[in-house]
Amino acid sequence: GAGVSQSPRYKVAKRGQDVALRCDPISGHVSLFWYQQALGQGPEFLTYFQNEAQLDKSGLPSDRFFAERPEGSVSTLKIQRTQQEDSAVYLCASSRGGQPETQYFGPGTRLLVL
């Protein structure tokens, strides 16, 4: 596709529900990143994939957060037993290959946990 797409764009969840956020990177991009952006803050790194391999997950805030990219293209960020502090915009980005490389960002998924 022309750019990085994310779905859903908005998600409202009740506390304790599980959610799954999808990212479709630019076709052919090897690297994929997830970021969390709290209100009024800059994006914070969550995790990084090179093809299907998750090379860095140091930014995942708890074991309730899980990301996968099984075929090296589409990625899913899953949050189990959502908490109010999980409310944020979740941004996905992709790039052609290894660093340093320009990252292309999707529009984000805005998650609100009630």
Partner: protein, 112 residues
Amino acid sequence: AQSVTQPDIHITVSEGASLELRCNYSYGATPYLFWYVQSPGQGLQLLLKYFSGDTLVQGIKGFEAEFKRSQSSFNLRKPSVHWSDAAEYFCGVGTGGFKTIFGAGTRLFVKA
């Protein structure tokens, strides 16, 4: 630890006036530096980047930035601001791994 500081939470400039957004970083080696812009409800769009070479880099939409190693700074400039430049601007540092660390952002308001 690596960090990025954008000292100004928000800035207001008049249309046609010049703009400078400040960015300071903390990183032990030569960093990879980025400026991104984010419009409401949108993802981040790259304005410009510095990896090596000439310390004055040109970007899209008439923006430029200068890497000053001695000051650990990478300030963004534009000689004449347009109303469409109103947005949030993020400075980022690539740390040599695969992470980019972002500052908290500076929101630009443009008045007529």
